[in-house]
């Protein structure tokens, strides 16, 4: 039964909560009522059996709970929406009677009038069903701080009139970009250590692809996440970073690669050529052997033109190094305004090492080390520096 309840929570939390926000226009109230409905389910389902339509049951119970809550708080209700409060019903609402409003909810949560930290936290709480404590731990803040962040955001949605709807066409590109940025940020938090967040981001990505099947960037982002995730087991060996070229390919998840490529195909079929589609295409090329460095460099070039990002140029330089040699790459790198970015210095160091300009390479590794904090990455650079010092050994793995 615990497994059934957990499964129901995973499957239905977001949709039930979204339906409640749609009914009452209040994220805080919807959240409390949804939580209560799941608590009641935990009590009743083991005794009475799982209802035929669990989701409709949950929405009905949550809805009635919310109405009771409003009634209990009559002084507040008198001032707000008493007249609009629907009647509590005994019968379970038909599953078909309420639409899937998760899309409306995610656009509310990722509204640009909210701070990005709040957008991320709200999305994880409302659509992902994560507890405040879990979100707090994932973002390394205290639980009271995260609770306050969530309360403030929910209050602002209500007080400032942040809408609960899919934005009009002329706003959609910007707003969708904001939603995708939040999902990708969650994914990256997960990728850099907290695996469950990466899983959560993929779940959100799949839900978005299902809800917006005609948006190429949505499929592009899902493809990108799946392709990255397919390599996650090969990325670290005994806590040390393993570079792509040295990864044990048998650890790659073939099923995820195939799913990622299928999403990429879908995005390309929709004529997608946006930043996520391009990144997914690059990630897909990286999963091939031998790698087509010319095409990878060309795609990075296209991405750089689109985003104007010097970090993308840095990646292009690394692909160019494989295609045209370290000298050509160095020329690109030396023109980039990324003095404070450690990867610029580690990439420069690598090119200088290949050109056997050891003194300059060592200086660049040292500069990169000054800028790096965390363990595995730091140790990789230190290993390189030691190898340079010994002046021996074959050209090792490349960044």
């Amino acid at each position: 039964m615990t497994a059934i309840l957990e499964q129901a929570f995973r499957e239905h939390w977001g949709r039930v909560l979204a339906a409640l926000v749609g009914l009452f226009g209040d994220v805080g109230l919807a959240e409390e009522a949804t939580q209560e409905a799941f608590a009641i389910a935990a009590e009743r389902w083991p005794r009475d059996g799982v209802p035929d339509s669990p989701r409709a049951w949950l929405v009905t119970v949550a809805r009635n709970g919310a109405i009771n809550r409003i009634r209990r708080d009559r002084t507040l209700a008198a001032k707000t929406r008493l007249l609009e409060v629907p009647e509590a019903v005994e019968d379970v609402i038909d599953d078909a009677a309420f639409a899937d409003e998760r899309l409306e909810l995610i656009f509310t949560c990722c509204h640009p009038a909210l701070a990005i930290e709040a957008q991320v936290a709200l999305t994880l709480r409302t659509l992902g069903g994560l507890q405040t404590g879990e979100i707090a731990r994932a973002f390394l803040v205290s639980e009271p701080t995260m609770a306050q962040r969530l309360v403030r955001a929910k209050r602002k949605i209500k007080a400032a009139g942040i809408p609960f709807r899919v934005p009009a066409d002329h706003l959609l590109p910007d707003r969708l970009a904001a939603v995708l940025a939040v999902v990708y940020l969650i994914f990256n938090e997960g990728y850099s250590g907290r695996g469950d967040l990466a899983e959560e981001a993929s779940r959100l990505g799949r839900a978005l692809a299902e809800l917006m099947p005609d948006e190429p960037e949505v499929h592009g982002l899902l493809a990108l996440m799946l392709l990255h995730q397919s390599r996650s087991r090969a990325r670290l060996r005994e806590g040390e970073i393993v570079l792509l070229a040295d990864q044990d390919r048998t650890l790659w998840d073939g099923e995820q690669i195939a799913a990622g490529r299928a999403s990429l195909e879908r995005a390309l079929a929709l004529h997608g050529r946006g930043p996520y589609v391009l990144q997914a295409a690059i990630a897909s090329l990286h999963a091939e052997e031998p790698r087509d460095w010319g095409q990878i460099a060309a795609l990075y070039g296209e991405l750089a033109r689109l985003t104007g990002s010097p970090v993308v140029e840095l990646n292009r330089a690394i692909a160019v190094a494989e295609q045209d040699g370290p000298e050509a790459a160095l020329e690109i790198l030396d023109g980039l305004p990324l003095e404070e970015f450690r990867y610029l210095h580690s990439a420069r160091a690598e090119m200088l090492r290949r050109l056997e300009r050891s003194g300059e390479a060592a200086a660049a590794y040292r500069r990169a080390l000054e800028l790096v904090h965390d363990g595995p990455e730091r140790r990789l650079l230190e290993r390189r520096l030691v190898e340079l010092g010994s002046g021996s050994g074959p050209a090792g793995p490349r960044p």
Binding site: H111, A113, A159, A160, G161, I162, P163, P167, A168, L171
Partner: protein
């Protein structure tokens, strides 16, 4: 819902500073006037009363029962309020769209959107 839009001129050239205003091309000046007029004519908008520039502001405090006045606005001159209007709209998105049409928002200033109770 009702919103108040607070217009902060920032570096925006305005007719209050004739020298800076003269540097604005004629067609841009005309566009600024036309935009403000169009905004005031927008359904749901209650235009604010025009304010004298922040240089004319006096800030008042009461400390231990006595009234203290200082010359100038409460915030920095550049951050001072330059104008305002009210807007009755369905939601924040509509208010944001109106705010984006206010010339100060594109000319070096900014517009703060505040929901009213």
């Amino acid at each position: 819902m009702k919103f108040m839009l607070l217009i902060h001129q920032g570096d925006t050239p305005t007719p209050d500073d004739p020298e800076a205003w003269a540097a604005v091309p004629q067609d841009e000046q005309r566009a600024v006037y036309a935009d403000y007029m169009a905004i005031n004519d927008t359904e749901g908008v209650t235009p604010g009363v025009r304010m004298q520039p922040p240089e004319t502001a006096t800030t008042v405090r009461v400390q231990n029962g006595s009234t203290l006045t200082t010359d100038g606005p409460f915030v920095e001159m550049k951050e001072a309020l330059g104008g305002y209007l009210f807007f009755e709209a369905g939601d924040l998105d509509a208010a944001i769209e109106l705010a984006a049409r206010i010339p100060a928002a594109r000319m070096g200033g900014a517009v703060e959107v505040r929901p009213l109770v």
